[in-house]
Amino acid sequence: MINGVGRYIPDNLKPFISSDNYQGIPRKQIPKKTKVENTQFVENISTIFELINIKSNMTLSFHHHLRNGDKVIQIVAEEIKNRNLLNMHIAPSSIFPSYTNLVDLIKNKNITNIHTNYLNGEVAKIISQGYLDGELIMNTHGGRAVVIESGELPIDVAFIACPVVDKNGNGHGAIGKSACGTLGYAISDLEYAKRVVLVTDTIVENLEEYQIDGKFVDYVVKIDSIGDSSGIVSGTTEVTKDPIGLKIAKDCANLLDYLGLIKNDFSMQTGAGKTSLAVVKFVNDLMVKKGIVGSFASGGITKAYVDMLESNLFKSLYDVQCFDLDAVLSYAKNKNHLAMSASEYGNPYEDNPICERLDFVILGATEIDLDFNVNVTTDSLGNLIGGSGGHADIAHGADVTIIISPLVKSRIPIIKEKVMTVTTPGSDVDILITERGIAINPRRVDLRQKLKNSNYPIFEINELLEMTHKITGVPRKIETDDKIIGYVQYRDGTFLDCLRKVKDEY
């Protein structure tokens, strides 16, 4: 069947209808985990496999707060390999380039199904080439919480890397030698997995404050190192120096100001890319100039936001993951730097999740099409290179969703007639800002009206496409293989798009 964004979805899956279709549908929650015995402390991962009797066909989950520094998923993968378990289903909240030892496990069918919100690197490459025997399901951060709490994604064992754990099984992310900050993506796993294993390298007597509640924890494993906390840095801590990126960022900040969105008590979220950081800097400058104090900033938190909190430009930060070590330190010491779970952040069935309290969000795009649908999951050839993360969650939740991007990236036009993969429905995308002009979604009559008499270079999105083609020429049509390798699942649990194998010749 064809779904609400015009994409084919097999009949056995719930098709995406619209981004607000979840309203009126009751929240489905399985009972939260109840612990039946005291938390046990064990010496190694292998013992855990024995104690829980982890066997083939089970589902194991992980979080990605240690990002490229994570060792826990790699240690567990090694144990799966040593025991030659087959048909395992893994559900890491993201898969990073450093998770290289998953490659052989996928090729050898030890791992055959994956739920994740983002993937990049060698694992993404081989899945794009069709090596995953089962299916890849790409969720949003909020959507992952939905499928876990509803029981659609039943987790047999959640392995939660936790920088410090106390004798009661309580855990915290912001202290210890492998500190990574908040552990927002692990909370649903903690509360709903059948078995919960905290993996740590630091055990203390007692934690007065903790994010991981020991009442859900079955086992604690102490290993030498859960990872390298310097690897959690997102790779982007500096404002772009690229003149095009800076122009887009400046135009974006000025547009926000023109629309009256930079006002007292406003709230915002941006990505952590260099251009997004430039937007944050320009917004910061505007706030200082106008004496404005915002309510909160949210998301993955970077030093830029920490500095704004410490300068009293924001009253608080809501942090689901720390993007750099400054954010980790801030979360540890500043009471207004607040942790939030992925569910509190983006679960549409939560009462007033953070994403719905946002005035505006600034997001990137790999592709955007004439219906404003955005792709951040695959490149133009269909290779997996990312995923929604919180993209679709906050695009829907925020009052104004702005995509910033140059019109041409590496000689490839960003605007397409149809995106290769729909990650975020165009109904949730309001404005596209490029270096050559701005397009406003025709659905946002209010924004069009406000900008009607402005000096901004406003175009229809198809005009921007034509402008791009004059520069680059019209790219040839890319074909994909017929084989479906997975699906993009929207935050309400419906399916937005199919992921197809990349053609061998690409």
């Binding site: 003149p243 095009i244 800076l246 122009k247 400046k250 041409v408 270096e435 050559r436 402008m467 004059k470 520069i471």
Partner: protein
Amino acid sequence: MFRSLLFIPGNNPSMIQNADIFMADGIIFDLEDAVSISEKNNARNLIKHYLDNSSVLPKQVVLRVNSFGSEWFIKDLEILKTKKVNYLLVPKLDYESLNTISSFLSDFEEKEKLEETKIIALVETAKGITEMSLFAQNNRLMGVLLGAEDLTNDLEIKRTETSLEIFYARSQVIYFCRANNLIAIDTPYTDINNIDGLKTDCKYAYGLGMKAKAAIHPNQLEIINDIFSPTKEEIEWAKAIIKLSEENPEKGAFQYRGKMIDKPIIERAKKIIQKAEIFNLL
């Protein structure tokens, strides 16, 4: 007329492709100092291809060629055949080289059936500064750009933040240009990350009488354009003066806010409005 001219290296395709989107009133495509010897041919080809084929070009195109007498100068002129170059920026210009180049260009233009190309003199030697008054005889000249880095090298002195060492050169350029109805273009401010320094430098140069400034990074353009544009107050003042003069055509002089207004003041007001129109400030 321009306030800002942005240098873009001829061997930087991404900058060239986006040359039209920056806030510069003109773009200087640079084939000289920004391009290493091994890149000269590639850069020339790149710019030629861009000018021949791009559907979106900057408002004004300036080409900085290699110096006359270098092995690349004649090849660089091939780009004029695109008919997209508004001005030629010629480095290390003095009286003799200006005349030789003019004569050479005339022959080249006649042979290739091209219209006359105007020249911006890049004056960056002591000889160039002292001979500037002789430039006035040359009809191709439309402006002078002061090149302070090479000039201070020539003088064997240091460039400093105060720029006192180039005060004489700046003054020479300004007075020569004003006397000959040419555009005086100030030397670039080279400390890209020093925004406050750029503002101070622009205000100082503008206050002396420079009419435009070259930039070496797009981030400098907003400040340059801002400082080298008429202010809102100046525009309002000019509008009022012009309105009064139109209402009183028979009067040679009149008063406005207690001050006497006569022909030179009215002319100044007209220039302000002309600039404001060109730079979309009205």
